[in-house]
């Protein structure tokens, strides 16, 4: 039996915001702690801020109510106000892994209505190289098991 290796396409998203690129870049990066959903947290302690050190090689991390910090990754490219590339070093279980890295590129392009913001999260095939950890995500209560329960609840509510 042969099992083909799947190389997933990058996740690509875009949105137009009513602000100039410099402002959009600033809110996205130095203001990340103001908009990052609190539910997207790698730690038990609630997030107090999300910090991106504004330079290539800078850290990307969250700070928490208990005084702790949690690394997320590092800055790979820093070109305000047009572009930034962040190294996303959270594995499939949302734990920081210094030996694991995927790229998140964000671009800011001026438009008549404001700024077109695009986001690309790529190198997702690297998760495949950590297949055991992905398996963990599928099986964990907070992972796919939890999501499946959610689908169940929603399906019942819709019925």
């Amino acid at each position: 039996m042969t099992v083909s290796t799947i190389s997933p396409a990058a996740v690509r998203k875009s949105i137009v915001v009513k602000a100039p690129p410099a402002r959009a870049f600033e809110v996205f990066t130095s203001g990340m702690g103001r908009w990052w959903p609190g539910s997207h947290n790698t730690q038990p302690s609630p997030i107090t801020n999300v910090v991106i050190e504004p330079r290539v090689g800078g850290r990307w991390f969250s700070t928490h109510e208990d005084g702790g910090e949690a690394d997320w990754g590092r800055v790979l490219a820093w070109e305000p106000p047009g572009r930034a590339v962040l190294g996303w070093q959270l594995n499939a279980e949302f734990q920081y892994d210094p030996d694991f890295i995927t790229e998140v590129e964000i671009t800011f392009t001026p438009q008549e209505a404001g700024t077109l913001v695009t986001l690309e999260h790529r190198n997702l095939e690297r998760y495949g190289e950590a297949a055991e950890r992905v398996r963990g995500m599928i099986d964990a209560d907070g992972g796919w098991g939890g999501l499946l329960q959610l689908f169940g609840t929603e399906a019942e509510a819709a019925a």
Partner: protein
């Protein structure tokens, strides 16, 4: 490639969710899956097709049978999850930018 919408749709159906959960214990043939869900074998095949298109399962021929398993790398579901994750985040980001601009 699967997107979040396909993913949600694929798992929004209770029978498909049941099939997917069954495959978590290991690869199975259509005929075996048909025994555990209250639908016909052709219906099971149809459900598996939807799960496959959503990137949740893969299939392979084993003799004259077709065996299904969860995507061995879990990348289909993972990608769909990340797709949803960034969509939520960008919406939150846009709301923050525009709130600033109007105050």
């Amino acid at each position: 490639m699967a997107n979040a919408e396909q993913f949600f749709e694929a798992l929004g159906d209770p029978t498909r969710r049941r099939i997917f959960e069954q495959l978590r214990s290991g690869p199975q043939a259509v005929v075996d899956l048909a025994r555990i869900v209250p639908v016909s074998r052709p219906a099971v095949s149809q459900h598996l097709k939807v799960l496959k298109q959503a990137g949740l399962v893969v299939d392979a021929a084993a003799g004259n049978r077709r065996v299904y398993r969860i995507d061995p790398h879990g990348l289909g579901p993972l990608r769909a999850w990340l797709d949803q994750f960034w969509a939520t985040n960008l919406d939150a980001f846009a709301a923050a930018v525009e709130k600033d601009e109007t105050t």
